[in-house]
Symmetry: C2
Subunit: 288 residues, 2 copies
């Protein structure tokens, strides 16, 4: 018997992975979670049937969502992570000695529990004493947080369907801005552009951030298991420009070994293809 | 009835496109060629069952294989294209007024014939009087070409299996070097690294070029229909460095509108992820 997992990357594009074993299936009050052991990508976590993270290519996503802002402000001390229940983002943050504290607000305890059991290479730092893990609604959490608390907010969310929806709203971003220090940076996973399904979310997240933050840029990475293999992140900031203020020498002097990220790639990640730049300026793409 | 085309991106990864209509199927002495009309990617040409080109994402490949070397030496006059039977590479080359002549050597006439009939947006310049279209073996052609003839050679080949095999050999690259002028640049499609199937070819092409050309670099682009969505190109040159000698102002003054390429992205395309840099230095990748 052959077992295959298939995700519809668009209505007429299927991406399928051959499965060794279906290790876990669970339903929380928020979503359905499955852990599959795949031949090519190692262990895979899906939420409501969509790939969240795989052991083989998670390094791309977590390098880009953590080290990009940290190389712009390596002096970050207090971090808020929204989502990120698999633990990959916290794992990368914990490599910075000067980070004093991380609040991680994951709405769904099941995600962390499953990651702790099945994805130990991701969840390995979730019990670090510098990390406070809160199983709460991120929207409510930022609303109730005091002003000027965090130097960095990382929105490591699902797509804006289901529990992730509130993390793509103007109200949420406004509260994020309020609770960031004057050096504050926000990064988010900003969807993608090759397929219509994610274009609108990518555009909306970007245009909402632009109304609130003076500096908003988009950057890119290659994540093979995400639709089209081309994924975007948002970088929003109160004062730091991600290129002009990149502290390459300082970051490199930390000696962190990273599999995807490096400071040359940092600059390249913000150099978007012409059609992507136009999309964020004009709101449309004509492919065919 | 639903019709789906599936390519195995690796032994345990399938990529499938929903098909409106199977427009053409032909067998030449070299390979099997099919044209499918797909919902998401428009018309698709496959050779021996593998995606060569789709109407939706061909702009990425052709922008990167043509404009990258042209922005380093916008004074290119004589070009040799090996392969490239769909016409996309020649179409982009014909946008440069100062290019005087292109020899295009495609081993398989069927590729050009099918492109002319089914992919007019790609093949539209194949009859340009500046283009000499030769249905010959590229390996033999370069062997028999005189010294110092071309300013630019573009190897727009299939994978090194079947008819493309000879285009990945030291002898072939040595002849390419010989027939290039002292300003000569060679670019090739250089496979990819996320899946084992293409890793060896990527590495070999690169290491063979390094034995022959003083400057050899690798650059990257996002091509959703190619395995992993992450694809590499090789840039080999007798004297021009692709970054130091990039003539951004001069290229931008030409006013070419390109959907993927721009001169900032040019620089970013050469900023490889750390694991890719290490792969080309050490010859191995550890993902899991």
């Amino acid at each position: 018997m052959e077992l295959w997992y298939t995700e519809k990357h668009s209505e007429s594009v299927n991406f399928s992975l051959k499965v060794k074993e279906h290790l876990f299936s669970g339903q929380s009050e928020f979503q359905k979670l499955d852990i599959l052991d795949t031949y090519e990508y190692g262990k895979l976590m899906t939420l409501d049937g969509l790939v969240m993270v795989t052991e083989k290519d998670e390094f791309v996503y977590h390098d880009m969502i953590v080290h990009t802002p940290m190389a712009v402000n390596p002096d970050v001390k207090n971090v808020l992570v929204i989502g990120g229940g698999d633990g990959g983002t916290v794992r990368e943050l914990m490599r910075y000695n000067n980070i004093e504290h991380v609040d991680m607000v994951e709405i769904d305890k099941l995600v962390c529990d499953a990651a702790k059991k099945y994805l130990p290479t991701l969840s390995c730092e979730l019990n670090n004493p510098k990390v406070t893990l809160l199983y709460e609604d991120g929207v409510k959490f930022v609303k109730e947080s005091p002003d000027n608390k965090y130097d960095l907010i990382i929105i490591d969310s699902t797509d804006p369907i289901g529990p992730g929806e509130g993390l793509f709203t103007t109200e949420f971003y406004t509260n994020c801005h309020r609770i960031l220090t004057e050096n504050g940076i926000l990064v988010n996973q900003n969807e993608s552009v090759f397929y219509e399904d994610t274009q609108e979310a990518a555009l909306k997240a970007n245009s909402k951030l632009k109304k609130i933050f003076p500096i908003v840029k988009v950057y890119q990475a290659n994540i093979p298991t995400y639709p089209s293999g081309y994924w975007l992140f948002g970088f929003a900031s109160k004062k730091y420009d991600p290129i002009k203020d990149l502290q390459a020498d300082k970051w490199n002097s930390l000696g962190l070994k990273t599999k995807y990220y490096n400071t040359d790639l940092h600059v390249g990640a913000f150099a978007l293809p012409s059609f992507v730049k136009e999309f964020f300026e004009n709101g449309s793409i004509q492919f065919l």
